[in-house]
């Protein structure tokens, strides 16, 4: 049912539209950044770098709209939860946008180096991260907490791919030290993709809270093992 005061509905719709646009832009930025990386396309990478500004602007618009609703409408119940979630989601999307931008910046640096074949795991990671992002934004539009939770669980796969990419890149550093710059940038790009996955789980948690009214207490198993990798005998296990 709609609010008695129609302009209140209009403001909430505006907030939803801003969040959806932010999500769409982050998806576009991520996909363009990966295309630029795969094709050594410096021009496209530069476009991604510049495009991040739009996401930042939308975040400010979300903040202004939410603050205005708080000040004038004193939202409660599901309205309150949705507006709080929107605020948090905008911050998360802004950060995800930063990771896409960082991938673009590193692409420009990599393009200065001699070309070399990348481990395919990087592309797999980017495909999974993009799918998770698309699905979580879809769950947002449909107010579907179950669909959001589905994305939340999928982050495990991305963590596993990241572990693989990490090992592959370390191995290449040893095998092909001439390309050390490229490998290092790719290591950071893999990390960025893994972080985008983490941000989609944060988005999923906000959607869950907004729809269900309870904060997710279930602890998601952490599968990113790269922070404890050593060069010992088990390093390549």
């Amino acid at each position: 049912m709609e609010h008695i005061v129609k302009s209140y509905d209009a403001e909430i719709r505006e907030l939803r539209s801003l969040i959806s646009r932010m999500g769409g832009l982050v998806e576009d930025q991520l996909s363009a950044a990966i295309t630029a990386l795969s094709e050594y396309d410096v021009e496209l990478a530069a476009k991604v770098k510049a495009g991040d500004r739009q996401i930042d602007d939308l975040e400010i618009q979300v903040e202004n709209t939410a603050v205005s609703i708080f000040a004038r409408r004193a939202p409660v119940a599901d309205d309150l939860r949705e507006i709080i979630s929107s605020l948090k989601m905008s911050a998360v999307l802004e950060r995800a946008g930063d990771y896409a931008k960082n991938i673009a910046k590193r692409t420009i640096a990599i393009a200065q180096e001699r070309p070399v074949g990348f481990p395919p795991t990087i592309v797999q990671m980017s495909e999974l991260a993009a799918t998770m992002l698309r699905d979580v934004m879809d769950a947002y539009v449909r107010h579907n907490a179950d669909a959001a939770m589905d994305v939340w669980y999928r982050d495990e796969q991305l963590d596993n791919l990241h572990n693989t990419a990490y090992r592959q890149l370390i191995a290449r550093m040893v095998e092909m030290p001439d390309h050390i710059n490229t490998w290092t940038h790719l290591l950071m790009i893999a990390k960025n993709l893994e972080r985008i996955g983490d941000q989609t789980t944060n988005l999923a948690e906000q959607i869950y809270y907004s729809v269900k009214g309870t904060i997710l207490e279930d602890t998601r198993p952490k599968h990113d093992l790269t922070s404890s990798v050593t060069s010992g005998p088990d390093a390549s296990a």
Partner: protein, 274 residues
């Protein structure tokens, strides 16, 4: 042990709609029905009022919240067509028992109304009237003391101490309302009922009354009927939502205003009622 879950679920089903706590309530209403002639105004309400707690009663006009409030000190007795069924207890004693002295009951369960209604007498007399008729003061000095402390507790003393002889009706609306609260406090009540006490006041006077309610919270069980969602959210610990004579939902105020369980509650507090 294996029967436990079943037993538990049966117990839960059998529980009345009220939020159960282990504390003994100051006042307890059980299956309260109120009729005005043929009109069924309150339908089977179960609700506890606790010492140290402000309970807000909210709901659209005609939902039965004020009618229910007025049952708690038998104000409805004065309405000829009004019939109250069920049980309402104060410290475990039925307030509708024939042996109950209603004047005494209303001293223990005081009331503050929507429109400030001071007597057309001096500020002093407004507060002194109750203690005098209830024989709470033996000497004029005792009475002076009661008037001063009551006005102090009501946060009005500093504003009126130099003009206690002036008519109560000459005060501002907010001051008059606090005078009425002082008048209620003067007879040492245990429960204070407030029926939209701020609806005729400006925001500053409202804030003063709300600050006063917060001050009084520790000493009395307080029930307040309000049409302001924000007021209920600001000053109460428990909120009860009434609709069409039913107590739809009662719970911690924070829970009601963030995650109401009932859709009707949500629709009302978010402004979705058609």
């Amino acid at each position: 042990m294996s029967a436990m879950p079943d037993q538990l679920s049966r117990m839960t089903e059998a529980m009345p709609e009220v939020t159960q706590t282990t504390r003994t309530p100051k006042m307890a209403a059980r299956d309260v029905h109120v009729y005005y002639g043929e009109t069924h105004a309150v339908k089977g309400v179960n609700l506890d009022l606790h010492q140290d707690e402000v309970t807000a009663l909210i709901g659209p006009s005609g939902c039965g919240k004020s009618t229910f409030l007025r049952c708690l000190n038998r104000m409805n007795d004065t309405v000829a067509t009004c019939r109250v069924e069920g049980s309402i207890t104060l410290d475990g004693k039925d307030i509708y028992d024939n042996k109950i002295d209603v004047v005494q009951l209303r001293a223990r369960v005081g009331m503050v109304f929507q429109k400030p209604n001071p007597f057309p007498k001096s500020i002093y007399e407004n507060v002194a009237y109750g203690p005098r008729i209830h024989g709470l003061a033996e000497t004029r000095l005792d009475l002076d003391e009661i008037v001063a402390t009551s006005l102090e507790k009501a946060g009005l003393w500093n504003e009126v101490k130099d003009r206690l002889d002036t008519p109560g009706t000459a005060l501002s609306g907010g001051q008059q309302q606090r005078l009425c609260i002082a008048r209620a406090i003067a007879v040492n009540p245990e429960v204070i009922l407030m029926d939209e006490p701020c609806s005729a006041l400006d925001p500053i006077a409202t804030a003063r009354v709300e600050a006063l309610i917060e001050e009084l919270k520790g000493r009395y069980a307080i029930a307040i009927v309000t049409h302001s969602m924000q007021q209920a959210a600001r000053i109460s610990q428990k909120t009860a939502f009434f609709h069409l004579g039913n107590l739809v939902e009662m719970g911690e105020t924070t829970q009601i205003f963030t995650t109401p369980r009932e859709e009707r509650t949500r629709d009302y507090i978010t402004g979705r009622f058609g």
